[in-house]
Amino acid sequence: MERYGTGYLEERKLVKRWPQPIPAIVALVLTLAVFYATWWIFQDPRGWMRMYTPYVGYMYTRWWLIMLIWMVYIFNYWPFKRKWLEDTHPVVKGAVLTVISVVILWVLIKGFFESLLGNYGIAYFNPGNLLKLPGMTEFFALEYASLACLMFAAIASWLSPAWVVACEEVPWQNLNQPGKGISILVATFFLSTLIFFMTMHSHMGILYYPWQYFTSIAPPYWEKFANTVSGNFHVSWIMCCTVTVWIVETIWERFPFKLIRTNWLRRVVAFFGIIAIAWAMHLFLYFAQELTWGPAIRGTRLINAPDWRWLHVGEMAVFFLVPALFITFYCGNWPKRFSLPVNVLVRTLITISAAILLYIFYYKTSHDYLGTQKGFMHEQQFPMIPTIWLINIWLVHHWFMDNWPGWKMVPKTAEEIAADHAAEKAKLAEVRWDPALGWGLGAGAVCGVAIYFITLSVLPWVYQNITVIK
């Protein structure tokens, strides 16, 4: 039976053409070149299409990410046959699959959101319908509609991969494509819709005068807790969920959840565990901003506004995703020499350090080459656009092009696949309860709490002593 791309990512062997770090450097240079060229063509406010309005460009960037996830993680490259995936030149494969992802993206935005939902459901998905409001300009009609679509995308970009990574595709894991893909798509899209209404709809409802009390909850229920009526509060934790899903999937190799042997329990704990970790990140990154810039003041604009601080949590979180994906895609998930928990810890520390450096580098230099302006906060500036744009290019390169040209794709033999499974089992078996593990766990937990409080003390000093923006 045709398997399409089911298991393709696990069953492909990427053979380096040159010793490291040459392939990683080649991949980085190549993808950055593509990033900059495409940034100029599509997004840059000085460039050709200038989609960075910002919401139009932002919406397409977010939804393109989801198209890639759908094609690879949910539909397993269906309808492309396994032989085509294995035999086609990576450049041809990359071009064909990218074009298809863009076509689906266009159909989804224009067909589903704008035409179907925007004409027969909720007016704010269709700029044409928004234009009927007195005083509404074409520019903001498009921006508002794009904002609604991209808020939906934020949720979908968490739930779509979460169903695969955490829930392991249940209950459709044994179904053939496209049945499996369609089932997961419908389920995650349904859940996304539900969460959209509970988190983002009120934000859209108070965009208009008077507040739309009868169609949305206004003021929203989170107002007192979040110190804002803005939906950015939800954008924050949902973005953290997206980032956590991918960190769990890449540098954490689904650890620690995969240590749970009972299937249903592992899936439930993984799904809600990801949310719990994301919330820890969500609250900490907000606090980190309070420690550096002072407490937020409701009603202000720019850097001191709670709504922006929440949004910036999501923006900061994406900076962690960039190095995490680079380590997995181009550095073979280095290191692998220690036990699984130690490997995970080392990779996490590398990711955190790299993310901080990337954050500083971005705010120090991005205004020189992205057509944006210097400053942490600008009303129309979203670092999530360039970071996710780069991630999209990496996903295309890694998923569609097998890391060409630094690597060559060779299908694993049955023996190699069996050996992988055995190694994985051994790795899990190695982490089992033992008094030494218990002592380590306790001592580590105390150290972890201490690290947290030390970080709190150090952060204001770091901010005082490192000038990011002159």
Partner: protein, 391 residues
């Protein structure tokens, strides 16, 4: 054998420790970061209480608050040019139109067409740029006259911004007698709030009547903006103000905020006036940093009468394009806590926002809706407002 056991135990200990570190850190992050206990980490606000002196009264004349006349036209241009991050000098708006069309202009090409006519022959310069620019009829501008009465009764005048359209601003200057005041050197200085088209591009109109007037600009002007000061025919002193507080005369200070602003502009300057027995009055061009931020900054930085935030005048940059966002509601809901007693808002405050202020019961001073100002919720063109003085 026992050595082997030790090795295994050590390895297991590190495995556990690695898990513990990750778990412990996450636990701390999740449980403490948004708890009330976190507030113990916030330093106490230390008020600097800088003394800027006090004045007897302050009067503001709105020369023009209508920066553009048709919002749809402006937003259509912004959309066509690529959005709110596009460099304002490339829009091909007047006076820098070069005939190449929307989003394809530049300062250099635009100014070359009119430079020889600045600042004395503005009629001809505007006639040329009208033919070469996108939407020339839509240009208006923001400018205000600030009259301050010192404690000894001496009156001093300052100009805040110089608008956009040469034609509209010249008409507005004549309507309010600003042309004569400039000619007579009654106006001491021009404060440019920021580099935006609607506040700054009409600067030759001021220089037409007083080319030597001292001009204060906020730090952060782009090279085109700095060059324009010279090309506009200015012969006086230009003082670039660094971010922070800058006392000017007793009772009057400006404050520069290093903020990135739409259409590729950076930095904005606004005014604090300390009125005897009343409190602090905030006068802003656009207030991109936000009026609450401006008030909080005043609380931290300066000493003012009765520790009272008394009045506001100007654009509050809430919904300049009649757009809306829930964060603007945060402002509407919060402003009441600051206790302002006299609010004169217009320009980029947004008509919808002014309406919400009125509905919230804030003391908004109504205008007369003359000279193309659209509604009475705005303190409109030709309207005056006084703080410590009746107008």
């Amino acid at each position: 054998m026992s050595e082997d056991k030790g090795k295994i135990s050590r390895r297991n200990f590190f495995k556990g420790a690695a898990m513990g570190v990750l778990g412990g850190t996450a636990l701390g992050m999740g449980l403490f970061s948004y708890s009330p206990w976190r507030k113990s980490y916030f330093p106490d606000v230390k008020r600097k209480l800088a003394d800027i002196g006090a004045c007897k009264s302050i009067k503001v004349t709105n020369i023009s608050e209508t920066s553009w006349f048709d919002n749809a036209v402006l937003m259509g241009d912004i959309k066509g040019a690529g959005g709110l991050l596009v460099n304002q000098y490339s829009y091909n708006w007047p006076p820098f139109g070069d005939g190449s069309g929307l989003g394809k202009g530049s300062y250099e090409k635009g100014i070359a067409k009119i430079k020889h006519l600045l600042p004395n022959n503005l009629e001809e310069a505007w006639a040329i740029t009208e033919k070469l620019s996108v939407s020339p009829q839509n240009a208006g501008g923001f400018a205000a006259l600030i009259e301050i009465e010192e404690m000894d009764g001496r009156k001093r005048k300052f100009l805040l911004d110089s608008g956009w359209s040469y034609k509209w601003m010249d008409e507005s200057f004549k309507r309010e007698g600003i042309d004569q005041m400039l000619k007579n050197k009654e106006i001491e200085a021009l404060f440019i709030s920021h580099e935006h088209f609607d506040h700054y591009w009409g600067v030759p109109v001021t220089y037409k009547y007083d080319p030597t007037i001292t001009t204060y600009i906020p730090d952060g002007f782009y090279p085109e903006g700095l060059q324009y000061l010279q090309d506009a025919g200015h012969k006086g002193k230009v003082i670039k103000i660094k971010p922070g507080l800058n006392p000017m005369i007793p009772g009057l200070a400006t404050f520069v905020f290093a903020v990135p602003i739409i259409c590729r502009v950076y930095g904005e300057q606004a005014i604090y006036a300390n009125v005897k027995d009343l409190g602090l009055v905030s006068i802003t061009g656009c207030c991109h940093f936000g009026i609450i931020q401006f008030s909080e900054t005043a609380f931290r930085e300066i000493k003012y009468e009765k520790d009272n935030l008394y009045g506001i005048y100007g654009g509050l940059h809430i919904s300049p394009f009649e757009d809306w966002d829930p964060k603007y509601d945060d402002l509407v809901l919060s402003l009441g806590k600051y206790g302002f007693q006299k609010i004169g808002c217009n320009h980029c405050t947004g008509l919808m926002c002014a309406k919400k202020f009125v509905e919230a019961g804030y003391p908004v001073v109504k205008g007369t809706a003359r000279h193309r100002t659209k509604e009475t919720n705005y303190l409109g063109n030709g309207d005056k407002i006084g703080y410590g003085i009746e107008v």
